[in-house]
């Protein structure tokens, strides 16, 4: 590449990057402005009267702490459950020969064809019948089984030699012990990928909570935000503050596990 082309490339990338960063930067900066400055015309980029007022309001009047804890509980529980049951299933499909194994694999993968958006109505009924309406379990359990997770684990374990398991069996280890002490430690990359994606899916999820949760005290962050923004008189100050806080957990996960993300997307190419 010539020096001129390189300079052009950098210029284009930097311009694009600034354009990309601007929306979030603007939200973050705005969240530190007081009520007057928030709507002042002309708008100021940097808050003149830096204040945490909006954050305090979000916590006090907006009950944001509760939504945050709700989301944290749902996200963490759901992620642990997701890792457990999907690695178990992937293990079974990779390391045992049994009647119906191919059929079960195909059936599991085929469920990708039926996203939640398509079964919103009947799933609401099923959730109600099971007494899971307006419970956290209603948003934790149903999405915990994911074809992506099963498939990733299976593919990974196919590359692991069976001798490891045979050796364990000769030593008298139970199958559960083989799974938990031999397989899980080996499958760390899969577990990490699943954990990260599950964290993001559940933390950002809107549709499940929308269908399952009915009372405000059980709202997750996303459901609460969507409710506030739909109101006629939007309180932008606390809304922006809540958005900023709710972006922090995914930001941390993103910064710490960036490399896994890239790998994970390339491995799965699928969402949900």
């Amino acid at each position: 590449m010539t020096a001129r082309n390189r300079a052009l490339l950098y210029a284009a990338l930097i311009a694009l990057a600034l354009l990309y960063l601007f929306p979030v930067v603007w939200v973050v900066l705005s969240s530190f402005k007081d009520a007057n400055e928030l709507y002042s015309w002309p708008p100021r980029l940097i808050p003149h009267h830096f204040t945490l007022e909006n954050y305090a309001t979000a916590l006090d009047e907006g009950d944001f702490g509760r939504y945050f804890l709700n989301s944290a509980f749902v996200t963490i529980t759901s992620t642990l459950l997701l890792i457990l049951i999907n690695t178990m299933a992937g293990f079974a499909l990779a390391k045992y020969r049994f009647k119906g194994d191919t059929f079960i694999l195909i059936a599991i993968i085929s469920t990708l064809m039926i996203p939640l958006e398509v079964i919103m109505i009947p799933i609401f009924k099923v959730i109600s019948w099971l007494g899971m309406y307006n419970t956290y379990w209603g948003i934790i359990i149903p999405p915990a089984a994911t074809p992506t997770g099963v498939f990733l684990m299976r593919q990974f374990l196919l590359t692991v030699p069976d001798d490891l398991l045979e050796a364990g069996r000769i030593d008298g280890a139970s199958e559960w012990r083989l799974y938990s002490r031999v397989i899980l430690p080996i499958a760390k990359p899969v577990v990490a990928t699943l954990a990260i994606f599950s964290f993001m899916w559940r933390w950002d999820d809107f549709l499940w909570p929308l269908i399952v949760i009915g009372t405000p005290e059980k709202y997750t962050v996303q459901l609460a935000l969507s409710n506030f923004i739909g109101q006629y008189d939007v309180d932008w100050g606390s809304l922006l503050a809540m958005s900023v806080v709710s972006m922090i957990p995914v930001l941390i996960v993103f910064l710490v596990f960036q490399r896994h993300f890239v790998k994970g997307i390339v491995m799965t190419g699928i969402k949900g």
């Binding site: 990309y20 293990f91 109505i121 099923v126 199958e175």
Partner: protein
């Protein structure tokens, strides 16, 4: 020593239970509902294909479908082009590549609700900073969210911002798997940059391109939370797509049979694309 025959089934049990109870059964119920008149409270009444016939006659449903298709057909090519363009810039020998990649990827992590909310804050008619910038440049402020056509455009912009980074990652890995020799050879043959893009890059990138297209199409058909936060589906119904319409018909108008019939239509659309995706990826994975 052989493990007992029931062991693998036990390992599979939790998954299979969840898949059956929360996916397979609801899907079957959904099909049953679609042939009934049902308000969720009173007993179902069998109506045969009436719901489907009513859908075909409903101009509102056709409007929603048309809007959804227009959204998909606008958003997907733009996402495709944007993601490919950025990916091609980022596979060059550059300093700070990782930083750029992180910047473009970051919005993918942000929930659709916050994406919508962020753009609403920027594009707001009276308080939005974009209109201020327009005024600074001596232009008239624009009703980004309260004019039907502009609202659609705003939704597309927010969609691009939130999704391009995801597909960029797929394109980067696709581009990196093209051997450099091909480019060298094209250069020696005197091919221009443009020529080598069309004769080397695009053909060799085909598997990735197809996957990106399919995934983006499926995702676009299902989009709802972003509009929910940005425009609420309005003004009027200007940005109400199929999923939101199903939700409103089912949960607000409590016409569960009708909503289920619409869901079946949506399912058929998504199923076709998913099957193509399976074909392309041999079961969901690229590698």
């Amino acid at each position: 020593m052989r493990p007992r025959a029931y062991v693998p089934y036990l390992f599979l049990l939790p998954n299979l239970l969840i898949f059956s109870v929360f996916i397979v059964f609801p899907a079957l119920f959904g099909i049953v509902y679609s042939f009934h008149k049902y308000d969720g409270l009173n007993p179902m009444e069998y109506v045969g294909f009436d719901n489907y016939a009513a859908l075909l006659r409903s101009s509102e449903f056709w409007d929603v479908m048309r809007r959804t298709f227009v959204y998909v057909l606008t958003a997907v090519p733009l996402i495709f082009a944007g993601a490919l363009l950025i990916a091609m810039m980022l596979v060059q020998e550059l300093r700070g590549k990782a930083l750029f990649r992180a910047v473009f990827y970051w919005p993918v992590m942000v929930s659709f609700i916050i994406v919508g909310l962020t753009w609403k804050w920027i594009l707001g008619d009276s308080f939005g900073v974009v209109n201020y910038l327009l005024e600074l440049a001596g232009l008239e402020p624009i009703k980004w969210l309260s004019d039907p056509v502009n609202a659609k455009m705003s939704v597309i912009v927010a969609t691009l911002w939130s999704r391009v980074g995801f597909y960029m990652v797929l394109f980067i890995s696709g581009l990196q798997s093209i051997p450099q020799d091909y480019y060298e050879a094209a250069k020696i043959d005197g091919a221009s940059r443009l020529r080598s893009f069309f004769s080397v890059t695009l053909p060799l990138l085909k598997p990735t391109s197809l996957l990106v297209l399919i995934l983006a199409v499926i995702e676009a058909f299902k989009q709802y939370p972003l509009m929910m936060a940005l425009t609420g589906g309005g003004p009027g119904k200007a940005t109400t797509n199929i999923v939101q319409y199903v939700y409103q018909t089912g949960f607000i108008k409590t016409q569960l049979g009708m909503a289920s019939a619409m869901s079946v239509v949506l399912f058929l659309i998504i199923a076709v694309f998913t099957v193509v995706q399976f074909r392309l990826t041999k079961g969901g994975a690229i590698e």
